[in-house]
Amino acid sequence: MTKRKLSLTGDTAFETIKTIIAVFIALAITFCVLALTCENPVASFVTMLTGPMTKLRYFGNVLESMVPLVFSGLACSLLFRTGLFNLGIEGIYYIGGVICSYIACQVFGNSFTHPLVAILVPALIGGLLMLIPGYLKAKYNANELVTSLMLNSIYLGVGLWFIKTYLRATDYSSTASPLFTETAVLPYIIPGTRVTIGIILAVAAALLIYVLLFKTRLGYQIRMTGLNPNFARYSGMNAMSLFLLVHFISGFLGGVGTSVELLSIYSRFSWVTLPGLGFNGALMAMMGKNNPIGVLVVAFGISYLQIGAEIMSRSTTVPVEVISIVTATLVLLISAQYFLRGWREKKLLKEGMLHV
């Protein structure tokens, strides 16, 4: 059998070329949209691309907005690895946020123990809550999309009610918690920005999950179970407990993510709708091909673009909503599997024919 690795068109090289070209096309489309909607498209375009680099605070914005995306992206990627389409991280972000806020509003400990508890408790509870759809699926084959979507709305209702009944700030006019106790707030690590140790935690989490997945026995079992549960069971792995463990870790990450976000960026809990970070996490996970490092890169890229576009829209007449067109194009092009495939196949065919 004549089977050859063909260098230029090899998998990695091709993926890289593809992504670069996709980004270029998406940017070109963005430029066209800008040309249609504002007076000075070139300047706006440059602002969008370089904006986040012009000020430390802006770059800080990029980092701070990628943190929750990394956590929810990691959480979703783990879930997707089990082959399930579970969107429950959205709800975990909400209810975890409520729990975190409750703890953050109490007075105890010091500026180390307080945030530690305020992050770990929601994380644990998040992990446990994630077991509900996980168990229902594993044991009774209850559709995880239904259960997770329903649970999201239920967590929202219960969380709102809890805040209103037990944690409402009396000095605040909408449903919100009181100000977090000072000890609970995470310290800033880059002066002049709101970048806290959250970013370090996010990167650490990504690396940790990477090591877990690709270097440990547990990760090996998780990967095999995700790829083919029958095979994992046949090989002697306990598919059910692995499945539940993955759900727990995922919920745990969700809990950490929401807590870090709240304790870094917010001074009180005032979400009255689902934050949308869970859905964005699903996007990160899919674009990052469920690989922790991929999630990290994608989260940075999307945040950079988003912040760049916001800076641009602030200084020009372009409506903020235009950003969504840019993001949608980018997402669709980058994740297109067949994009440039024709070209690649032609090349492969040519090279292949040489060996005939």
């Binding site: 605070r57 209103k164 605040y172 006019s173 449903t175 917010y266 800076i311 903020v320």
Partner: protein, 359 residues
Amino acid sequence: TTAPATEEPPAEATAAAEQTEATEAPAAEKIYKVAVLVPFIGDQSYFDSVNAGRLAVEDYPNVETTLIEMGEDKSKWESYYLDACEGGYDLIVGGNNDAEEYFYAAAKQYPDQKFFNFDYVNHVELPNVFAVTYNTPELGYVAGTAASLITQSSMPKANAEKIVGIVVGMDFPAMNDFVSGFCQICYENGVQVLIGYPESFTDSAKAKEIALNMYAQGADVVWQVAGGAGLGVFEAAAEADKYAFGVDSDQTIALSGQPNLAATIVTSFYKDCGASVKYAVDMLIAGTYPTGAKTLGIKEGAVGLIQNQQYIDMVPQEIRDQIDAQVAKVAAGEVTVISALADDAAWQDIKAKATAPLN
């Protein structure tokens, strides 16, 4: 006497705050840059009203304004404020509930610029900040007056039952501040109040269903305090052939495209944020920018009801007179209106009383 909210002279609206005259400042060369920060416009409520105020001052030859929409993601708001401060504006208009902390933090950090909080909850005393708030309970009280008079009237769509309704976007104190005064006067007048919370400011279909239920249970007038979702109440009113009240600005104007819906609106109860924005800019130009906080109510004309032609045509003279009399009483300070924001216990009490079925 057609007088939509935004056209009211600012001097009258804020008569209490220092004496004012000169709108055309002597230092004609100076261009005043004003930034207005709101989460978004198009809420059919006070962000739109603030924007109306901005548009009004935009016509001044020496004023340049920028509207900055920050979006609904609160985590991004801080940077919008800091950017505005760094953008060299003379006056930064912003604040209101959720953004207040960023507003005051920015004001503290940039003491050379002036700041105006168009609707404060917790004012922080700073030399460069002026803040106003509106007496919402008084507005609710006036609306309740009108509602309870109409339901007992012989107006064509009014029925025998003494029931009125109020659809409130979400169940939280700032929203309930509209309801407390409403309940108070209705209870005094022996009218039952139905309160519905769709728990959304966008789901107009849900608001419609709730309002339809209210009408089906005997309400003949429903007040909507639910932003975009509240438009569903007018749809319900049109379908049930009953009355509705608008909120924040003259909603018959907003509904210009849908005359059958506009026709259900007896009147709208406004909160004139726009006028206060204009007032702040005028003061800035005059070089007499105030500091401190002010509550604006019926007396100042910052809240009240729209008395347009439709209102006059729809509501009989004697009812209008009764309403005017009640408004005068409130303006004169003869009534103590319960505020849900300030006194939770009293609010819970009046809510229980006003919603109890009549026998």
